[in-house]
Symmetry: C3
Subunit: 376 residues, 3 copies
Amino acid sequence: MDFGKNTPQRPGGLKQCFVSALLYCTGEMQQLHTHMQDKFFPLQLVEGCLRGISRVILLNNPLSGALILAALLLESPWQALLGMLGLLASTFTAIILGQDCEEVSSGLYGFNGMLVALLMGVFSSAGDWYLWLLLPVCLGGAATTFLSSSLAPVLDRWDLPVSVFPFNTVLLLYLVCTGTSNPFFPNHPAQPPGAPESTNHTQLHVPQLLQGVMLGVGQIFACGTVGPSLLILVAVFLFSPILAVYALLGSGISTIAGLSMSVQHSFLYSGLSGFNGALGCMVVGVFYILSWRTHLLSIANALLSAYTDIALSNLLGVLGLPASSWAATLTGTLVLLLTGKNLKEYRIPTGKVTSPEQNLHSHKQWSAANTNATDV
Amino acid sequence: MDFGKNTPQRPGGLKQCFVSALLYCTGEMQQLHTHMQDKFFPLQLVEGCLRGISRVILLNNPLSGALILAALLLESPWQALLGMLGLLASTFTAIILGQDCEEVSSGLYGFNGMLVALLMGVFSSAGDWYLWLLLPVCLGGAATTFLSSSLAPVLDRWDLPVSVFPFNTVLLLYLVCTGTSNPFFPNHPAQPPGAPESTNHTQLHVPQLLQGVMLGVGQIFACGTVGPSLLILVAVFLFSPILAVYALLGSGISTIAGLSMSVQHSFLYSGLSGFNGALGCMVVGVFYILSWRTHLLSIANALLSAYTDIALSNLLGVLGLPASSWAATLTGTLVLLLTGKNLKEYRIPTGKVTSPEQNLHSHKQWSAANTNATDV
Amino acid sequence: MDFGKNTPQRPGGLKQCFVSALLYCTGEMQQLHTHMQDKFFPLQLVEGCLRGISRVILLNNPLSGALILAALLLESPWQALLGMLGLLASTFTAIILGQDCEEVSSGLYGFNGMLVALLMGVFSSAGDWYLWLLLPVCLGGAATTFLSSSLAPVLDRWDLPVSVFPFNTVLLLYLVCTGTSNPFFPNHPAQPPGAPESTNHTQLHVPQLLQGVMLGVGQIFACGTVGPSLLILVAVFLFSPILAVYALLGSGISTIAGLSMSVQHSFLYSGLSGFNGALGCMVVGVFYILSWRTHLLSIANALLSAYTDIALSNLLGVLGLPASSWAATLTGTLVLLLTGKNLKEYRIPTGKVTSPEQNLHSHKQWSAANTNATDV
């Protein structure tokens, strides 16, 4: 449905116009993308970067990206600046390396750089507006593109996406390289979630727990406050309402897993124990066609991801390192490799992934066509 | 040779009947398997589960599985219960995922779950009959099937079996996730073998050392007492006498390797330093046709596996974690990848592996046929 | 150009003769290799071993190997003996396994064994001429060949060389296995480079820093003195002057990276912070055709390799373990996987790698031929 064409043709009033606009803005916004292809380069770059921001949370919609950028600015302008710089650094490195244009403009080479930059800012103990940090942010962003470009042919053999492996690797290397007492780039140490805490004996505060579930969605972008997390959730909803439900569901399951392992209450309240589960749940939502079987799979993967995250956080926490999104990345990759025939038919090839609603729609059409063919 | 048919046809007395029964029970018991295919589902499941138990130690024989189950019951009924639960959890997960029926019924999806369950019980410091443990045992068993199903397409590219990678991964994650001071699922910490011990300065007790070699075979199932270890050795002997020799040989070599690195005497006496070598030796026995070259290879792999085990145990022991059978799994996988032409001709493709005796027999027949063909 | 034929044919005096001799000795010395093929086996073995020594530093020239051997003898005769033993152990293991003859005689199965042996000697705290060390050196050398033979089919899928993965793996396992307090094979612990040091507050000594850049080339063979390092640099120059420049450039970049992370001055002065960068830079020089794009890539890879080395050294240093050349091996492997079209056209297939000069020459000829063809 083309927004530009439809409005003048059907004079259906404000409501019709609003619905059209909404339909235009949701999903992948493919029309905008095709519309942009013969436009000015900086405009294309802006669209690519906004898509890149949304890619972090498995979306592909420039408007969602803009909403998330607003959330980051609301959370901390310094972080948002770092994130944008990392995004640009990794995107330009991809252009210099001569990566596929279509991939670059759909934001595939930006989101890892952005995440690295965001988390470098979060872990830095040098305070906000410490401008020397721009240097490692640029280098880190460029390094993620190197890794993306190198890992792609390896993972492609099994039709796997590169996902956030580069971000996780580069962040870990940066934090190990600099450490907590580096004179130029000192970092906060990460706390393991399993460490006993005196406040753990206090009563569990249920409203804070529920808020933690919601913050889990925001923690994908290292946002620990309510407003930005809500904005990010709206961004997900804009791309796909199903994914928004999955994000909250995964975060909730992850919080329950955290309770069962009695992690520190601060982890549950801040959403830190929720974001890997949210991502794990969403991966299944994006890469599998929705059905009750894949729904169970998404719950199972959220659980697996949550427990793996606790394990890795405990392990890396010994050295003061965070597990970032290793758990969701690893279990997400495993889930895409599953060979059981009850699930394999629902798996969408990596190159054909769109929004869950669109996938469901195409699948229904295809099934209907098949049924008609066999009926006749 | 079909047991059911042979006994009435040839009235050769008790001895003949006994030999037939023995031949029927040894090796892969393929007749039972084909016989079972049109039987009642629970009976098939029982056969599959018993085969699964035997798969842990590279066998494929339901009677061996029954013997091992008896050994486990003798060692500790609680452990045996946990093991069976893990086995069932992982087998049912495989059925739900829709894995290949033939693979499920031959026990390929059970043994990892069983091992995880057994070792969860061994490391739990909550005591026997702590019923809450049934929960992680079921989840852990299901997780191994996920991993098996996901790793299969990756390893299959190089014709490698999934082996016990899922068990090792899930056990490590579980132990890191829960730790030693978890209020619900506390664990014993694992001791590194290289830690200096005051008793190490005492004289080496040779009979205990020899007993340790035998216990090394039992330690594959975490059995540290003589009776069950002997039963397990009998189970191996029933499937293949060659493998039983290899198991003891590997355990012996591994113990010598332990002595050369002066590991704690308690490790040598308990068989803990023997079981990786035993498995490493057996892998070569199962996947290569017996000859003096592959015999040397099995000794080399037992050594490599033993030293790797000491290294990994020292490394993971720093964090109080066990190296379980990582060493044998890794070196076993490497040995199957060897490209030298002196060994490659003896390698049996993963799908065609049976008992060493059967392999040897088929190979001799094939060689004889080839020689005759070239003679004429 | 064939040395044996040319000298009698052209009586151009001493200068011509010297140039011919020089041309014969530089590059891959392919003539010697073909000349050797019908010679006595021990002579072939000597040539193969000398090539193996030079392979460590990405060369393929027996004369360079001889020069490096001289450097090692100058540094420490005991180390040189260990290195030769490791080289022989791994080469003979390759012959026993039946690896490809051509590969063995070109030294592909020797360099990992040699490096393991050298580093075992360096880390041993039992002093020189501790003859028991010959035992693990032989076993370690043999183990590297096992690993080389096993990793080859896996890495070959992506046209990657085995490189020094076996050396790094075996060395790490050996050091973890023995530890610092082993009664038979005690080791020195490795120091992390990031540890704060009182002397770090003193002024940086620039001449020592520049000397450290040069020592970085020697540290590839664990040589920490000026004379042997210079000899090794000459050996590189003999094979390819371009590579010699790249080695120094990489070491320099690596030292700057070390300064930016404020590693201990002793690391900078001893060349320990330089050798991974040197290797990282040389990898690009060997596997890519020289151009300004690949020149930038070599600088980027040297930086990446240097920072990765600091990170891994800090991480492994917690356990008293060295990062050896893991960083250069990992980043070097990633660089060979890059998919960007601006670089892919310059990548030389692993089987066709010769010296950078030869690669450049072939590429120019090929380009010229192509241009002529399109002109006509």
